[in-house]
Symmetry: C2
C-alpha cells in the first residue's frame, strides 16, 4: 500500500473542498522546541462570576441585564463587526482608471449575535453531557430558520419541525429581518490562544449580506463535484469513504462521521460531516440533533483529554446560505470544522506563520497519527477522574 | 469622495492579487480587550550567546561549527520541512474510485536553508543601518541565482551582475542542484508571537519541487491581469497608483513603494512593491538593492517605534519561480509582504480566529489609518533615543 509511505516522506495533500494544497512533513516533529509557551489553562473558576457579562442576571456593556436563563441565551453583540444600518456607500463607477480597477470595495451590513451554551460560568462543551448540548443545537437552528429567505426551499423544510425562536433579546428575530441576509456563520472561539476573552461558554453568529470567502469557495467546489459526478455529493461520498477506511476516524454514529480530514492543516483538526445529504440545520431531525450533540461532546472531551488541559480551538458550522440559487442550496452539505492550535502539549502550539502565510499551510504530524491519538483518548473527561 | 465613508462603515475590499475579499469593520476598535496579552519584548540580550546555534563560532544540532562570519551566514536547516532525498512515492492510478478521487497526495522534495542577518545576537533588522542590510539582499540573490533553472530567461539576467555564491556550508550551492526546484520562498519569522524560537536575527529559505499555494494564486492573477490589460503589470500599476494617492504610503524611494495595501488583512500589514517591472532578485541593480535595504530598514524601524517594542512579524519575498513558463516568469513582479500580528499595543494582538478561519479575514482599523500611524513614526529608532 503506497499510502503507508506518507507517514515518512514530505508530501502535499489536496483539499477538494477548497481546491487547495497542504504541505505535510511528518519527520518534522523531531525538532526541539525553544519558542513561545502558552499559559496552561488550569485556573479554577466559580460557577457564577458577578463580573461576567454572560452569566445570568448580570449587566452587559450597554446596560442590558441578562435574564435568569436556564440553558442558552442569545443577544445582539454589543461590539458587532457588522451592523444592520449604516450610511449608504455607492462604489465609484468603473471608468477604466487604475483606481476603479484596483481599489474595489463594497458595503456589507449584517447582524452579530452572541449565544451562551450554559448558565454555568465554569463549564465548557467538554463538561456538558450531550443532552444539554441539544438545546444549543436547537437554538442555532431557530436563529438560522428565522433569518432564512422565505422563498428558499429550506424555509419549507423548516416549517414543520422547528420550534419558534424564543429568549432572544434586543434582536428582531421574531419579526422578519428588514434586510435579507446572504449567509450565517455560526462559530465558537474557545480559549485565550484563540482570541477568546471570556471563559463563559459561548459562541458567536455573524450574519452578512455577502457570502464570505470560505463558504463561497466550498460551495464552488461542492457544485463542481456534483456536476462532474452525476449528482453525487462530495461530502456524502467523503464521509462514506472515511467511515469505511477508519484510519482518520475519531468518532462516528449513525448520522455523522467525525475525524481528521485527509487534507487537515491544524495538527488535531477535525471535521464533522453528515452521512446523509443534509443541507443545513433545518434538515436535521431530532435523532440527527442528538447524534450531533453526541459528536460535539465526544470531540471536545477527547481534545481536553489529549493534553489534559482545556483545549483551545475555533469551531464553526458550514451549511446552506440563507438565500441563494436552487443549485447552491442543494449542493450545500452540513458540516463542522474544529481548528485547534495545540501541537505537542498543553503549552506548545503550532504556528502557522512565515512559510504558511507566504507560501502554503504546512503540518507536522499526519492526520492518521492525530486521529489515532484522539481515538485512543475517549472515556470519561480527565478532570472528572482527578 | 465616497472613499471617506469607508472610514466609518463595514465593507469588504477586494484583493486583486489573490482574487479574495477581506471584511473591514473600522468601528470595531472601540471594543474593550480582556483577552490574552503577549509577553512584551524588553529582554536584554548579549551580543554573543554561547548557547545560540546561530552565533559565530558556536556548534549546531548536528555537530557542525559555525564559521566566524562577518555579515551573513547560510546553512542547510537541521530540521528541514522538506528534504533533497526521500523514498519514491507513486500516487495510485485514477481508477474512478472514491479513494483515488478524494484522497490525493503528491511527493515533494526540496531544501531548507537558514540565513543569519548579522553576527550580533542582539540586533534585529530594525537596529541595522541599511548599508548592513545590503549584504543580506546580496546573499538572498546569490542563493536564488544558484537554484535557477539554467534554461530560465532569468539565468541570463543573473550572469553579469551576481557575485558567485560563497560562505554556504553543507549545501550543494556551488554545484548545480541534482533536482531542478520550482519555487524558492524566502521569509523571516520575527518574535515569539510569530513562532520564532531564537532571537538571533535570521530568516529561512524553503525551496520545493512544487509551486506553493500563495505564489501560485498570485501568479494566476498576475497573468490574468496582463492578458486583460494589454500587457501591463498589476503590481507596477498598483505601485504607481498608490504612490500618486499617498494615503496608504508608509515610505517610498525611487525603486520601491511601501505601504498598507488597500486589501491588507493584518492591522499593520505592509507590502513593498518594485516601481518598475522586476521579475526577481536577479533583476535588481546595485541602486535597487540599496533602495530595498533602505525600505526594509525604514519599515522595521517604524514597526518598532509604533508600540515601542521589538515588533513581531512574518515577512517574505514573492518573485518569479525558479523554473516555469516564459509567461509565468515574465508576469512575476518582485514584492514583499510583512504580516505583523499586533493591533493595539505591544501586548495586544489581532487574532485571526473563528470568523476569519471559517468565513473571511476581518480587520478593525483601516489600511489608511494604519499607514498614517506608520508614516508618523519615522525618525530614529526609539531604543536609540532612550
Ligand atoms: O522553522 P522554525 O523557525 O523552527 O518554525 C517556525 O516557522 C515555520 C515556517 O514558517 C513554521 O512551520 C513553524 O510552525 C514555526 O514555529
Ligand atoms: O468577538 P471577540 O470574541 O471579541 O473576538 C474574537 O473573535 C473575532 C471573530 O473570530 C475576531 O475577529 C477577534 O480578533 C477575536 O479576538
Amino acid at each position: 500500500m503506497p499510502e503507508a509511505l506518507l507517514d515518512d516522506i514530505s508530501h502535499r495533500r489536496y483539499n477538494p473542498l477548497r481546491g487547495s494544497w497542504v504541505l505535510v512533513s511528518p519527520h518534522r516533529t523531531k525538532r526541539p522546541w525553544q519558542g513561545q509557551q502558552e499559559a496552561s489553562n488550569r485556573i479554577e473558576l466559580p460557577s457564577h462570576d458577578p463580573s461576567c457579562y454572560l452569566c445570568p442576571g448580570n449587566k452587559r456593556a450597554q446596560g442590558d441585564v441578562n435574564p435568569d436563563y436556564e440553558s442558552t441565551f442569545v443577544f445582539v453583540n454589543d461590539y458587532a463587526a457588522v451592523r444592520e444600518q449604516q450610511a449608504e456607500y455607492e462604489p465609484p463607477a468603473q471608468d477604466g482608471s487604475l483606481a476603479t480597477r484596483l481599489l474595489k470595495a463594497e458595503s456589507t451590513t449584517g447582524k452579530c449575535y452572541v449565544i451562551t451554551f450554559s448558565p454555568e460560568h465554569n463549564v465548557t462543551l467538554a463538561d456538558m453531557p450531550a443532552s444539554t448540548i441539544v438545546p444549543v443545537i436547537n437554538k442555532w437552528t431557530s436563529i438560522y430558520t428565522s433569518h432564512l429567505d422565505p422563498h428558499s426551499p429550506l424555509a419549507e423544510a423548516a416549517r414543520p419541525t422547528t420550534m419558534p425562536p424564543s429568549g432572544i433579546t434586543n434582536g428582531s428575530l421574531n419579526s422578519q429581518p428588514k434586510q435579507q441576509y446572504r449567509y450565517m456563520q455560526i462559530f465558537e472561539n474557545k480559549g485565550q490562544a484563540m482570541g477568546c476573552s471570556n471563559p463563559h461558554p459561548h459562541g458567536q453568529i455573524w450574519t452578512t449580506t455577502s457570502l464570505p470567502e470560505e463558504p463561497e469557495s466550498e460551495l464552488h467546489h461542492l457544485k463542481q463535484y456534483r456536476r462532474e459526478q452525476g449528482g453525487s455529493h462530495l461530502l456524502k461520498d467523503y464521509a462514506k469513504l472515511e467511515s469505511e477506511k477508519g484510519e482518520r476516524t475519531v468518532f462516528e454514529n449513525s448520522s455523522f462521521w467525525a475525524g481528521c480530514p485527509w487534507w487537515g492543516t491544524w495538527p488535531f483538526e477535525i471535521m464533522v460531516v453528515a452521512k446523509e445529504h443534509k443541507r443545513a440545520l433545518v434538515d436535521l431531525d431530532e435523532r440527527n440533533k442528538e447524534d450531533l450533540a453526541e459528536v460535539i461532546a465526544e470531540i471536545t472531551k477527547r481534545y481536553d483529554n489529549l493534553f489534559e488541559t482545556s483545549f483551545p480551538y475555533s469551531m464553526g458550522i458550514h451549511q446552506a446560505p440563507l438565500s441563494g440559487t436552487a443549485e447552491e442550496i442543494d449542493a450545500s452539505h452540513f458540516h463542522m470544522h474544529f481548528y485547534p492550535p495545540l501541537l505537542r502539549s498543553a503549552t506548545v502550539r503550532k504556528f502557522l506563520v512565515g512559510y504558511e502565510m507566504m507560501a502554503e499551510p504546512q503540518r507536522d504530524i499526519t492526520p492518521e497519527q492525530a486521529a489515532k491519538r484522539l481515538r485512543d483518548c475517549g472515556g470519561g473527561l480527565y478532570r472528572r477522574k482527578l
